[in-house]
């Protein structure tokens, strides 16, 4: 089998989030609140993938993200996988499991929801995972995958 050429170098220590849906890498960074991360983050977009055709990859250097931290990225990439790297070796590998509650990650699409008027964090309860349906704990409106992608820009 021909070995595929590596487009981005491996990282020494940190977290590699693989199999992100193509085009969603920046949303993943936003969900993880890594917008202002001081160390290196490498984003690879539209990489050919045997499983899903194309994928994005995010590599966060020198930080091992916990399963709780990464769980919310299932909102935009439920098939993503997480690898924790130490000394160039994968020491932990896992899939993403969406938590029961999504806390302060996305805004509510309902303009009349109190969370869009008062300084309070949003809370969504996961009502269904496939297809994904969330319900705002405050205004009780449903949010679908389409709505989530829309509010995440």
């Amino acid at each position: 089998m021909k070995k595929r050429e590596l487009k981005v170098s491996a990282i020494n220590n940190g977290t590699v989030i693989d199999h992100i849906r193509p085009g969603n890498a920046f949303k993943v960074i936003k969900i993880l609140h890594l917008d202002n991360y001081k160390d290196t983050i490498t984003i690879t977009s539209n990489v050919p993938s045997g499983v899903t055709g194309r994928k994005d990859i995010v590599k966060v250097e020198n930080r091992a993200l916990s399963p709780e931290e990464v769980s919310s990225i299932a909102l935009v990439s439920p098939e993503a996988t997480v690898n924790i790297i130490k000394d160039y070796e994968v020491i932990e590998k896992g899939n993403i499991n969406l938590p029961e509650t999504i806390y302060n990650i996305i805004a509510c699409t309902n303009p009349l929801c109190i969370t869009n008027h008062e300084d309070v964090p949003t809370v969504f309860n996961v009502e269904r995972t496939n297809p994904l349906v969330l319900r705002c704990q405050y205004c009780e409106r449903k949010m679908t995958e389409k709505d989530i992608i829309k509010v995440m820009g």
Partner: protein, 301 residues
């Protein structure tokens, strides 16, 4: 029992039954009052107008022997100076023992309940929830028929935007009932509710009142002009669902309920018919709200 009354979605059937049972016990105090809540203060935070809900909460608290403070016009409060809901609620939390809130922003009562230590009752948060209306509707049905189980109930009119029918349909899905949803196609019950009904109770959807099967109860709602793009369509629809001395024949012996206020969907001539129970329904707001206040204040006899 729940600490706050925010959404009918928070209720289990046993919670509803407990409130209905307590409301029945409160009937004995409706005419002559009681001192169960003596020394207790209910605060009313009404950020938008209301007739029935506000007055019946006030009446209920006074019949329980307690007193009432609050506002129904934000222009005379610090809200006008830009005070946040959180700060207004935190302040009233210090001044009273139970709080009733109506605010047009959806989820406002849930937030108030999180902020306040005292129990909070939602008296309407925009188009979202109005749980005390649902409880008084259920109480009215139980009082009129002896039991909610076994009934066939029609909901007529604007089923898309009317929060009372959404909450009532949700609550009725906990009982052994059948629903008939009667509305124009553009004002059908939202999918969110019908999906829940599919999993719980039998229901049918029809457009014409003439096609109504034999039912025990008809719950009529107001059709609002602003919901229609075409004014002619509004006029046509409005008259289609109007209950008057002629169309009432389509209902047989079915009782008629309406959350009020009505505009023209039920003619005044219907008020004296034995079918009409909507003013009794409004009156039932008193024992139900007395039951809620007494339960939350833990002053039950």
């Amino acid at each position: 029992m729940l600490h706050d009354i925010i959404s009918i979605r928070d209720f289990e059937k046993k919670d509803i039954e407990e409130i209905l049972f307590t409301a029945k016990k409160m009937e004995q105090y409706v005419d002559n009052g009681t001192t169960l809540a003596k020394g207790k203060i209910l605060s009313m935070l009404f950020f938008e107008p209301s007739t029935r809900t506000m007055m019946s909460f006030q009446s209920a608290m006074e019949r329980l022997g307690g007193s009432v403070i609050g506002f129904s016009d934000t222009s005379t409060t610090s809200v006008k100076k830009g005070e946040t809901l959180i700060d207004t609620v935190s302040t009233m939390d210090q001044y009273s023992d139970v709080m009733v809130i109506r605010n047009p922003l959806e989820g406002s009562a849930r937030l108030a309940a999180e902020v306040a230590e005292i129990p909070v009752i939602n008296a309407g948060d925009g188009t979202n929830q109005h749980p005390t209306q649902t409880l008084l509707d259920l109480y009215t049905i139980k009082k009129e028929f002896g039991s909610i189980d076994g009934l066939k109930i029609a909901m007529v009119g604007d089923l898309k935007y009317g929060r009372t029918v959404h909450s009532l349909a949700y609550a009725l899905s906990m009982y052994n009932v059948e629903l008939v949803l009667v509305s124009p196609r553009e004002l059908r019950m939202p999918e969110d509710i019908t999906e829940h009904l599919k999993d719980t109770i039998p229901y049918i959807e029809i457009v014409a009142l003439e096609d109504l099967p034999k039912v025990d109860l008809v719950y009529v709602t107001r059709i609002q002009k602003e919901r229609f793009g075409d004014p002619n369509e509004y006029e046509r629809t409005k008259n289609t669902y109007r209950i008057d001395k002629n169309s009432i024949k389509l209902l047989g012996n079915a009782k008629i309920m309406h959350p009020l206020p009505r505009v023209s969907e039920i003619a005044r001539e219907v008020d004296t018919s034995p079918n009409a129970i909507y003013f009794k329904q409004a009156r039932n707001g008193i024992p139900v709200r007395m039951a809620l206040i007494a339960t939350l204040l833990e002053v039950l006899p």
